[in-house]
């Protein structure tokens, strides 16, 4: 049975008092996230082909919606071109769309500062602006 004493924490307290505190000084300093950190979603509009797989596998409802972004002629038919619109306020940054996109158009950045007062700033629709 170890001997019971009072104030056994004092030694460690004095030692810790003279070490550097581990508080990260964010927002007065950098947040130092790791390389694999899953932050805000980003799309490369050039690589996206509008296959729609990201919208099917996304676990968070109504995060990815496929919209009609244009039309193109194939032979004598006119087909719709679909592209995804991302409602990033619903996104849980799981990365399932990134894993499942065969064309590598999606990636998760290290940006986590997504707070905003206007929801519309979090709607990412740059994939719909395709070169005609």
């Amino acid at each position: 049975m170890p001997r019971r004493k009072i104030g056994g924490a004092l030694g460690e307290m004095m030692r810790t008092a003279f070490q550097r505190p581990i508080t990260k000084r964010y927002p007065f300093g950098s947040p130092e996230v790791s390389n694999r950190f899953r932050g805000k979603l980003d799309i490369d509009p050039v690589k996206c082909t509008g296959c729609g797989i990201c919208a099917i596998v996304c676990p968070s409802p109504s995060t990815i919606e496929m919209v009609v972004a244009g039309k193109r002629r194939v032979g004598d038919r006119e087909l719709e071109i679909q592209r995804p619109v991302f409602n990033l306020f619903n996104c849980i940054s799981c990365g399932q769309c990134v894993d499942d996109c065969k064309f590598g158009a999606l990636r998760l950045t290290k940006n986590f500062e997504l707070a905003t007062t206007d929801k519309n700033t979090l709607i990412m629709s740059k994939a719909t602006e395709i070169a005609k």
Partner: protein, 413 residues
Amino acid sequence: MSEEEKSPVRRKAAAGLMQYSPENIVPFGPVHPALKEPEYFKLVLEGERIIEVYPKIGYVHRGIERAAQDRTWVQNIYLFERICGICSFAHSLAYSQTVEGLSTFEIPRRARYIRTIIAELERIHSHLLWLGLVGYWTGFDTLFMWIWKDREHVLDLVESITGNRVHKSFVTLSGVRKDLPDGIGDRIRTEMNYLEKRVDFYKELVSTEETLLTRTKGVGRINQEVARRLCPVGPLLRSTGIARDVRVEDPYAAYDEVVPDVKSSTDGDIASLIVLRLEEARESCRLVTHAMERIPQGPVRLTVPRIVPAGDNASHVEAPRGELIYFVRSGGKMLPERVKMRAPTLANILTAVEMLKGRPLADVPVVLTGMDPCFGCMDRIAVVDVNKQKEWAIRGEELRQLGIQYYKKGNMQ
């Protein structure tokens, strides 16, 4: 005759609480600084001593089992890991294991090892979190801050591997989603060495600090007879001397090759629970280092069809709090038919209530949190009709219609 007098069960239930005057009943929760999650405990006090405890659960019920029926098999992984923040990996692991059991493929060995490593890292983080909270509840803020300072090492390590500190989103239906990053072996070794030294320091501190010992020694004592009657799981069970652990009795992931040494103690009080969890954390450090040494090369996931064959399967894992059971029924479709989950806290809550009787009020936070509650995992609603002696689970639409009828009859307040 009134409602109470008609049914003997109802009479007894009414008498249970009614015999105490309202001045003696102190509500603990649902919102209370001592509880991380809301649950309602009606404490019947006499001065400072507790005579009876009536728990009422259901405050964090979110209908997750029902929500699982609307999502595909892979989407459900992300749903289930969000049941709890502390044992999130255990939930997604248990779910994946259960679903993989319905299919015929074998997951790669490297994936098994990686799952083991992350599961043990989560166990370390959970036990450190709990120990820090014990410090907080007994008024020992310094211990709380120090332990959470060391817990940051584990969380940063997990972030480097999986991308997030809490909801790791790392498990997928045939393994893990990504391989370990390069150079992580050295970092894991360094961090585990550091953590082993710190765990030894904390073990020394909590075994000798007088003020902490007076709050936890002899408090909430249970023995094997109580344990066999009320069936707790996890460290609560192991503190009574019954050394059961799912990782050893029914090995999953890589536990058949990286075998944990099950720790137990015989005192059964909170002080021994503290030491037991610290020893388990230290054992987890050893397991992580051991797994990193033995990890084989190979793929970490397979390409598998997104539709799971029909059938029923149940599987369990050792979450940091105890045995976590998942049951899955598949109808061979894109969406599961039924997923049922039994969290360890549901098995422990009655034991915790038993530990409370006869103790002074000041022990309530220490004891209730001695079982390391995770009410988020635990909650569920069942409908019991006392008169007809019948019990069933109610469906959402039925509940909605019941509410409409009730208020249509003019029961507005």
